[in-house]
Symmetry: C2
Subunit: 363 residues, 2 copies
Amino acid sequence: MSGIPHFWAVVPAGGAGTRLWPLSRSSSPKFLHDLTGSGRTLLQETVDRLTPLAADRFLVVTGQAHLAAVTAQLPQLAGGAVLAEPSPRDSMAAIGLAAALLERRDPEAVMGSFAADHVISDPERFQVAVTRAVEAARQDWLVTLGIEPTSPSPAFGYIHLGEPLPGLPEVCAVQEFVEKPSVETARDYLASGRFRWNAGMFVVRPTVLLDLLAQWHPEFAAALRQLAGDLDRLPELWGTLPRIALDHAIAEPAAAAGRVAVVPASFPWDDIGDFDSLATLLEQTDPGSAGGLSVLGDEELVRAVASTGLVVPASGRTVAVVGLDDIVVVDTPDALLVTTRAHAQQVKAVVTGLQESGHRDLT
Amino acid sequence: MSGIPHFWAVVPAGGAGTRLWPLSRSSSPKFLHDLTGSGRTLLQETVDRLTPLAADRFLVVTGQAHLAAVTAQLPQLAGGAVLAEPSPRDSMAAIGLAAALLERRDPEAVMGSFAADHVISDPERFQVAVTRAVEAARQDWLVTLGIEPTSPSPAFGYIHLGEPLPGLPEVCAVQEFVEKPSVETARDYLASGRFRWNAGMFVVRPTVLLDLLAQWHPEFAAALRQLAGDLDRLPELWGTLPRIALDHAIAEPAAAAGRVAVVPASFPWDDIGDFDSLATLLEQTDPGSAGGLSVLGDEELVRAVASTGLVVPASGRTVAVVGLDDIVVVDTPDALLVTTRAHAQQVKAVVTGLQESGHRDLT
C-alpha cells in the first residue's frame, strides 16, 4: 500500500474543545478522545482515514504538552512524524512549518492538511474527494474541500463556488470565503446550491503554499523556510512567528486573487463543536438511539426513565436520569456536567468561570 | 434538666427513603443523613428536639443493620436505649414492644412516638404541643398531633377533628382518620378548617396502648407483653408477630370507638418524602436560595449557570449545571441521579430497576 504518490498528510492536533468540558480538557483535548464509541480516538480515526492515501507519509503537529500522548496513540508512525510546537501559534505557523519541512524533503510533494478532531463517517467518499483535490493541487491550485451543508448552520464559515476548472470538471474555482453567516443568510446560501461549509481542509503543494504566504507575509514565509533548514532553532524562533490563521493569512487573499479551488464533497462531516453536535452524531451512528437517549460509553452504567439526550458515563459510576428531555450528562472522575442540548454552547462559561476562580486544574 | 416527669420518647428509626436515592440507601437510610445542612442528622435532630421533654428517657427502635450507626450517632444515650429489631416488622410491632418494655419499667410512663426521619423547624412549638398531648394521655386518651396543612397535599393521611375535650380546650376528639385523599378532596378539607395532616406521632400511656391493642388483636398484645418480660426470646418470637401499621391496628378502630384525641399543632413539619420536598425545605431554611439553586453540601463545588433547583454535591467532585430549571442533581461516590422536581417521585422506579437487575448493592 503506497497511496497517492508523493501525497503527505499533515494533521494539526490542537485546540482545547472547551465546549466539550469536562470530557475534553486542556490537558487532554478532544482529539485524544474516542467521541464516537468506535474504540479509536478522533486523532487515530483521522490517521486511519488518511492512511490509504498517505501510506506512512504523515506529519502530525501538536503541542509540547500532548507530544507523549499523541506518539503513544500512533505507534505505527515513524520517528519524526510527530512534531511538537514549543507553544500554540495558530494554524499558519503550524501548517506553514510542515510545508517548509516537506518542501525540503520531497520536491514533488502534495500535502493535505486535516484537523485531528473532526469526524467523517464515510472514509471512501472522503478519499475520492482528496484524490481529486490532489490532482488540482498538482496544477498549483490551493485546493480546499467544500462540505455540502446539511443545515443552515451559523457555526461554520462558507465557501462560495465559482466556475468549474478547465479540464477538472469536478473541481471549481473559489469565488470567496465568507465568515459565519446569520441563519437567514445561511438559508439563502443553501437555497442557491452554490455554497459549501469550510471545514478548514487544504490540499496544496508545499511550495505553492509558501509562495502564496510570501506574497502577503514575506518575512513569515522566509522564517518558516529558515526554520525548516535548522530545526534546532525552533525553540528560539517559534515565539517570533505571527499568530494568524491560515484562512486569513493565505486562503482569503488567494481566493480574491483567483488562486483557490474547491472540491465540492458530500461526505458526512462534523467538527463536534459541542455536546449538541455530539448527540446528533451519535443518533446518526446508532439509529436505535434516535429520539431516545444516546450513551457514549458503557450503557450498563446508565439507568434512564422517560428521558432523551446524551449521557457520557466516564467515571464508572451508575448514572440515573429520570424525566428529562434533551438532557446532557457528562460524568468524569473529578467533574460532572449537567446541561441540555440547547444550552450546550454555554458550557464554555463554566470553563471560563473555573479558570477565573483558580480551578484551572479542572479545565 | 429532667423534662416532663415520666415522659419517654420512643423513636422508630426505620424506612429506606427510597425516593431519596442515591443519597438514602437501604444500608444508610434517610434518618442517618443530614438533609438540612444543620450539621446534625435527622435522627440526631429528632433526639435533640425531644431531649428537653424526655431528658435521658429514650428508646430508639431500629433495624439490626443500623444498630451500630444509630448508637454511634447518639453517644449521649444510655446503654440499652437503642433496641434492634431482628427484622423489619412494621410499626405496630416496633412501637408495641417499646410500650411493653416501658409498661414494666415505669408504671406512670407516658410515651411519645416520633419517627426519626421527619423535619420540624420550630422545636419550641413542637414541645408545647407534645406537653399538651401528655396531659391528655394521662387521662387515658390515645393522643396524636395533627399538623396544620400548608397545602392540599395528596401525599398524607388526614385527621378529622371532633369536639374539644372537656377540661382540655386545646385538645380535640378525633372523628376519624382518613387515607390519602385526592387533591380536590384535600382542598375541601383545608377549606373546612377541621382537618389536620397525620404525621404518625402518638402520645399515650403504654398500658393504654397495649390494652387498646388487646381489644382488637389480643394475641399480639399478649406476645408483646411476654417478650418484654424475656427479651432473650426476641430472635425466636419476633418473626411470629403480625406485620401491621399502628394506624390500622389501633388508631383507626380506637378513633371509631371514641378513644383518640388530637392536639392541633401548627409547627412546620416535613417528612421529606422526595427531592421535591427537600428542595422546598431548603428554600425555606435558606431564603436566599428561593427561586434559585439550593445546595445541600459544599457550595464551592457547584457551578451553576442560569439554573434553579437542588444540587447535592456529596462525592467531592465539581458539579456544573447549565440552563436547567427545577433540576435535581444528586452526586454520590458510586451513583449519580439527574431528575427534575416534578419527576422526583419516579426515582423509586430507578431503585426498583436496580434491584431487579442485580444491582442491589447500589440501592
